[in-house]
């Protein structure tokens, strides 16, 4: 790394990247523990994933193939601008192919395709503190984590059931990591929670809140629940209108002024790959016709 051209590789200076890597290593050593870090100003607003971007910047190497998704899609504004940012600042190869990517930055989803060893999944996190809902004092939540006082998490779930008849929390569903820390998985749908027990490394960056946390491969990740209201990884009870998949998380799309709805895979790469393989949903057309 002597060439001056690489000094600002991936935008952040080497000093900052080292600081972030130290936080990441600490996070990996203590799965689910929120490590404070000195978040830097990034040339994009908070809420656009500055935490995730800094984590990605600290992990990227010139040989990486980067994929960026927002709500499962590669082509949304947020995903496109982050991908362009790293193309410009790091000159890395980019891909939409989940299997082909070495580093995936995501907001609100885990890809449907199972990730493999050697891959890194970076989450953008708005609120890293799962106890914030009931205990706003930071000094107190830190103490609760260090003493494993997690009764409050179940109070939150209790309130859900009392009010809605079931656990209505469907995003950012809290998990217990390796039998120790309770963690906010970022606003992914609870459908994705079981996928967090995976072969890839998972890194979480919260820019505004200046926290990093991590899950090493194959970490135990258990969604909190009650014995008589067990956790369920639910999704819309349909199959994808385009590719017919019944095992993927679906977005509800309104297709005309009459309010006609259809359900399609939120993971655009998964859907496209299936259609390329010849799968066709009820409202889908074979890919060749579509292109013609």
């Amino acid at each position: 790394m002597t060439q001056s051209g690489q000094y600002n590789f991936a935008y952040l200076d080497e000093q900052t990247k080292r600081m972030i890597r130290r936080a990441l290593l600490k996070g990996l050593a203590i799965p689910g523990y929120q490590v404070p870090f000195a978040s830097r100003e990034m040339p994009m607003p908070y809420g656009w994933g500055t935490g995730g971007v800094q984590v990605s910047a600290a992990c990227l190497t010139p040989d990486d193939r980067l994929k960026v998704i927002d709500q499962g899609a590669d082509d949304t504004t947020n995903a496109v601008s982050i991908r362009k940012f790293f193309q410009r600042t790091a000159d890395v190869a980019v891909t939409e192919d989940t299997t082909d990517a070495t580093l995936i930055q995501t907001r609100h989803r885990i890809p449907e395709t199972e990730l493999a060893e050697g891959q890194i999944l970076v989450y953008q996190v708005p609120i890293p503190e799962p106890l914030r809902f009931l205990e706003p004092r930071e000094t107190e939540t830190r103490k609760m984590h260090s003493l494993e006082e997690y009764g409050l998490m179940h109070v939150k779930l209790y309130e859900d059931i009392a009010r809605h008849g079931q656990i209505a929390t469907s995003y950012a569903y809290p998990v217990k990591v390796q039998g120790r820390y309770v963690m906010d998985p970022s606003p992914i749908p609870k459908f994705d929670n079981p996928k967090m027990e995976m072969a890839a490394i998972q890194l979480f960056g919260a820019g505004r809140e200046q926290r990093i946390y991590a899950l090493p491969p194959y970490t135990d990740v258990v969604s909190l629940d009650f014995e008589d209201h067990p956790f369920e990884a639910t999704k819309a009870n349909h199959s994808c209108a385009l590719c017919g998949a019944s095992d993927s998380y679906l977005d509800e799309v309104i297709t005309d002024d009459q309010g006609t709805r259809m359900y399609v895979c939120s993971d655009t790469d998964y859907c496209a790959t299936r259609r390329a393989q010849g799968h066709v949903g009820l409202q889908g057309v074979p890919l060749e016709d579509n292109a013609a």
Binding site: G151, Y158, I161, A162
Partner: protein, 256 residues
């Protein structure tokens, strides 16, 4: 009999001012100790030192722990002390807002201590919550309402239910009838007396209201300017006060 609590020479200063000084006493299981005295006499300071909410400047608070017998709660580790705070101890604040989660339903408030010690069956937790609401005379159909929709008296009864649901071995109460209307106070006192009798509670109750200790306390400590000036059986102290200050207090000459 082994004491439940043995307080030895507790001191607490606020800068140069005395909060409480040289307080010692022993509480046996099933006993209710009343602490009385005018406003500013150091009652709350003492109670907070005993309950681990304030760190005393000197002295020991020996508590009969389940695992290790008599142990000084002042010098034990914070995790251990906090554990006592959610299992063996309960604390009823004067202002229910300090002792309740105002954004959580009544059922959630009562259930919190159960969940804190590992209860994971929603139906059981809710059942116990409803049962406890009933015991403090709150109708079952209020179980999902937030305390902010409750009257002051109901809030205080809810706070009591929330504290007693796990069967604590020692209950600390600071002016439990404090901010309430007289008629509401009477009902709460009646309720408290019933619970103390039924559960055989051990408790330390701080109050400036002698009617409260007359009904609830087996023994009394009278405090003035941070010091204990008289102790004894409740009836003895109230009917035949020895210290001049207690005589004033009892004759209601003092504005308390």
């Amino acid at each position: 009999m082994t004491p439940l609590l043995k307080v030895e020479n507790i001191n607490k200063f606020y800068g140069g001012r005395i909060g409480c000084a040289d307080v010692s006493f022993t509480l046996y299981p099933g006993e209710v100790m009343g602490i009385v005295g005018e406003s500013g006499s150091g009652k709350s300071t003492l109670l907070n030192c005993l309950a681990g909410q304030l760190e005393p400047d000197g002295g020991r608070v020996m508590f009969d722990t389940r695992a290790e017998g008599m142990k000084d709660t002042v010098s034990m580790s914070e995790p251990e002390r906090r554990m006592l705070g959610r299992t063996d101890w309960a604390f009823v604040h004067q202002n229910p807002r300090d002792g309740l989660r105002m954004g959580v339903s009544a059922g959630g408030n009562v259930g919190e201590r159960l969940m804190a010690v590992g209860a994971r069956h929603y139906g059981d937790i809710r059942g116990k919550a409803v049962d406890w609401l009933d015991r403090v005379e709150i109708a079952e159909d209020r179980v999902d309402d937030r305390p902010s929709a409750f009257s002051g008296g109901m809030q205080q009864r809810l706070q009591i239910a929330r504290n007693l649901v796990t069967g604590p071995r020692l209950v600390f109460m600071d002016e439990p009838t404090g901010g309430l209307d007289v008629s509401v106070q009477a009902r709460l006192l009646d309720l408290l007396r019933g619970l103390v009798r039924q559960m055989g509670l051990s408790a330390i109750i701080v109050t400036h209201d002698l009617a409260v200790v007359r009904l609830l306390a087996d023994r009394l400590m009278v405090m003035k300017s941070g010091h204990v000036v008289e102790t004894g059986l409740t009836d003895q102290v109230l009917d035949d006060p020895q210290h001049a200050y207690t005589q004033l207090l009892v004759s209601s000459v003092l504005q308390v």
